[in-house]
C-alpha cells in the first residue's frame, strides 16, 4: 500500500514537472512569434492607456452629475476600474488568444492531433498561446490600484493582501471558465466566435459597481454572467467592505465554475466528430 502511494505521489510530481516544462516551451514559442511584431507592442501600450483614459473619462461624466453611484464614490469606483483592467489584461494575454484557436481546431479538424497527444487536451488548448499585449494592461491596472490605495487612505495589511489574492484568483477562474464554456460549445455549433463577443460585451459592464444597476440586472449579473463576483467583490475586499460570507461564496462559485467547465469539456468531447478528410 505504501509503495503504491509513493508511486502515485511520484507520478503526480513528475506530472506537474512535465506540465511546467511543456508550459515553458509554450511560452517560449509564443513569445518568439509575438516579438516578431515589435511595433504592435507599442500600439498595444498606447491603446491600453487610451482605453483606460476613456473609461475614467466615462466615470467622470457619471460623477459630474452625482456624488455616488450605487453607493460608490469616484475614488472607490476607480478601484473597480483597476481590477477590471487587470482582469481584461489577463483575458487578452491568456484566454483570448487560446480560445480563439479552438474554433480553428474544430473547423479544420486539427483537434485530432491535440487529442492524440499524451497531455491533457484542456491544458493544451487553454495554455498553448500567450500574447504579451495584455501584460501592459495588467501593469497599468496594478498602477491604478496602488494609486487608489493612496486615494482612499487604505491601510494595506497582510490579511487584505491575502484576501485580495484569493478573490482575484477566484475571479480569474470564473472568467476562464466562462470563456472556456462558450468556446467548448464550438464542438456543436462550429462557429461560436461571435458568442464570445456577446460575453465580452456583457463583461464590459464589469467596469461599473454592480449596485449601480437596477434590481433585475443585478440578479442577471450575479447569476448568468457573474460580473458581481468577478470585479465587485475583489474591489470590496480591497476597501475592507466585504463580509466574510461574500468571499466564501465567491470561492464556492469559482470552484463550481471550474469543475463544471471541466466536466462540460469532457462531455462535449464525446460529441466531437472530426472534420475534413
Amino acid at each position: 500500500m505504501e509503495i503504491w502511494n509513493k508511486k502515485v505521489y511520484c507520478y503526480g510530481l513528475m506530472n506537474i514537472k512535465k506540465y511546467l516544462k511543456v508550459y515553458s516551451y509554450f511560452n517560449y514559442s509564443s513569445f518568439s512569434i509575438e516579438l516578431e511584431y515589435k511595433f504592435n507592442l507599442l500600439i498595444d501600450l498606447l491603446t491600453s492607456i487610451l482605453g483606460l483614459i476613456g473609461s475614467i473619462f466615462l466615470l467622470s461624466i457619471f460623477f459630474s452629475n452625482t456624488d455616488e453611484i450605487g453607493g460608490w464614490n469616484f475614488n472607490q469606483a476607480l478601484i473597480i476600474q483597476g481590477i477590471y483592467t487587470i482582469l481584461n489584461g489577463i483575458t487578452n494575454t491568456w484566454f483570448n488568444p487560446n480560445l480563439r484557436e479552438i474554433v480553428k481546431y474544430i473547423r479544420e479538424g486539427t483537434l485530432d492531433y491535440v487529442l492524440l497527444k499524451p497531455i491533457d487536451s484542456q491544458f493544451w488548448i487553454s495554455f498553448k498561446r500567450i500574447s504579451p499585449t495584455g501584460l501592459i494592461e495588467i501593469l497599468l491596472g496594478f498602477f491604478v490600484l496602488i494609486y487608489c490605495l493612496y486615494l482612499n487612505n487604505i491601510a494595506f495589511t497582510l490579511i487584505s493582501f491575502i484576501l485580495l489574492t484569493i478573490t482575484l484568483i477566484c475571479s480569474i477562474s470564473i472568467l476562464y471558465s466562462l470563456w472556456f464554456l462558450i468556446s467548448t460549445t464550438t464542438i456543436w455549433f462550429v462557429k461560436t466566435w461571435n458568442a464570445t463577443e456577446v460575453l465580452r460585451s456583457f463583461l464590459y459592464m464589469g467596469r461599473f459597481p454592480i449596485d449601480s444597476f437596477s434590481f433585475s440586472l443585478r440578479i442577471f449579473f450575479s447569476t448568468i454572467i457573474p460580473i458581481t463576483f468577478i470585479t465587485s467583490i475583489p474591489s470590496e475586499v480591497l476597501l475592507g467592505l466585504s463580509p466574510a460570507w461574500k468571499i466564501i461564496l465567491e470561492v464556492l462559485v469559482s470552484m463550481i465554475f471550474l469543475v463544471f467547465s471541466r466536466k462540460f469539456w469532457k462531455f462535449a468531447l464525446r460529441f466531437y466528430t472530426s472534420a475534413s478528410s
Binding site: 466615462l58 452629475n65 452625482t66
Partner: protein
C-alpha cells in the same frame, strides 16, 4: 457604363445577401453583442444621473435605443476582412478584376445590415415590452433624415477603416492600428453617454472631430433629442469627402507598393 456598374453592384449585393443569410445565427449574436447602450441607460436612469443634464428618463431611453440602432447599422469591419484577404493572397485576383475591391466589401456590409435588421427590430420590441412608456413613433421625415444620417455615419466609418486597411500594403498587422479608431469611437461617439452630457473641456473641441457625428447625431435625430440637423449632416458630408480623397490617395500609392502574398 453607369448602368453596368449599378448592375455589378446589384449582383454583388444579391450574392452577399444570400451568403449572409446563411450565417444568420452569427449575425443574431452580433446584434445581441450590441446591447451595451441598454446597460448604460440602466446606470443613467437608476442613479438619476440625467437630472442635471435636463434629459428626461423617457427621452434618454429613446436616445439609447436610437444609439443602439445607429450602432447596429454603422458597424464596420472592412479592415479585418481586407487584412485576411491580403495575407491569404486573395487580393491579387480582386485587383485584376475591373471593379474596385472595396465595392465588394461595401456590398458585404450593406447585405449584413439588411440581415441584421430583423434581429435589431426584435431586440427593440423586447425593449419596449420592458419600457412601454418610452414607445414612440417618429414621423416619416424624421425616419428618412435619420436613415440618411446613419448611412453617412456608416460611410465615414467605412472610409476611415478603409484608409487603415490600405496600410495592409505596408504592414502585415494593419488591424491593430484600428484600435486607435475604435477606442475614441467607443467613448466619444455618444454610444455610452450622450455628447450633451460631456464636460465642457471635451465639448469645446469634440465637434471638430468626426466622432459625435457617428452615433450622437443620428441617434438624436431619430429620438427627437436636440440636434442641429442641417449643420450636422453638412459636416458629415464634409468628412466623407475628406476621407474619400485621402483613401483614394493612399490606395493609389498602396497598390503601387503591392506585393502579392500567399499561393
Amino acid at each position: 457604363m453607369k448602368n453596368l456598374s449599378i448592375y455589378k453592384f446589384g449582383t454583388l449585393f444579391k450574392t452577399q445577401y444570400a451568403n449572409m443569410l446563411e450565417y444568420r445565427a452569427e449575425i443574431a449574436l452580433w446584434a445581441i453583442s450590441g446591447v451595451i447602450p441598454f446597460f448604460m441607460l440602466n446606470i443613467w436612469t437608476n442613479n438619476g444621473l440625467n437630472e442635471s443634464i435636463n434629459i428626461s428618463n423617457v427621452m434618454l431611453s429613446r436616445y439609447f435605443l436610437s444609439a443602439f440602432f445607429v450602432r447596429q447599422f454603422s458597424v464596420v469591419w472592412v479592415v479585418f476582412t481586407f487584412e485576411e484577404d491580403a495575407l491569404l493572397g486573395r487580393v491579387s485576383p480582386y485587383l485584376i478584376q475591373p471593379l474596385h475591391p472595396f465595392i465588394r466589401y461595401f456590398a458585404q456590409h450593406i447585405a449584413e445590415q439588411l440581415t441584421r435588421f430583423p434581429f435589431a427590430l426584435l431586440i427593440a420590441i423586447f425593449f419596449f415590452i420592458f419600457n412601454p412608456q418610452s414607445l414612440w413613433i417618429p414621423s416619416l421625415l424624421t425616419i428618412i433624415v435619420s436613415l440618411v444620417s446613419t448611412f453617412f455615419s456608416f460611410l465615414i466609418q467605412f472610409l476611415m477603416q478603409s484608409i487603415i486597411a490600405s496600410f495592409c500594403f505596408w504592414t502585415e498587422k494593419a488591424s491593430s492600428i484600428e484600435k486607435f479608431l475604435f477606442i475614441p469611437t467607443l467613448f466619444l461617439s455618444g454610444l455610452l453617454a450622450p455628447v450633451s452630457s460631456f464636460p465642457y473641456y471635451v465639448k469645446s473641441w469634440i465637434y471638430l472631430t468626426p466622432f459625435p457625428y457617428l452615433i450622437d447625431l443620428p441617434a438624436s435625430i431619430l429620438s427627437g433629442n436636440q440636434a442641429n440637423i442641417i449643420r450636422g449632416i453638412f459636416i458629415q458630408v464634409l468628412w466623407i469627402i475628406l476621407f474619400f480623397s485621402i483613401f483614394k490617395k493612399i490606395w493609389k500609392s498602396g497598390t503601387k507598393k503591392f506585393t502579392a502574398m500567399g499561393l
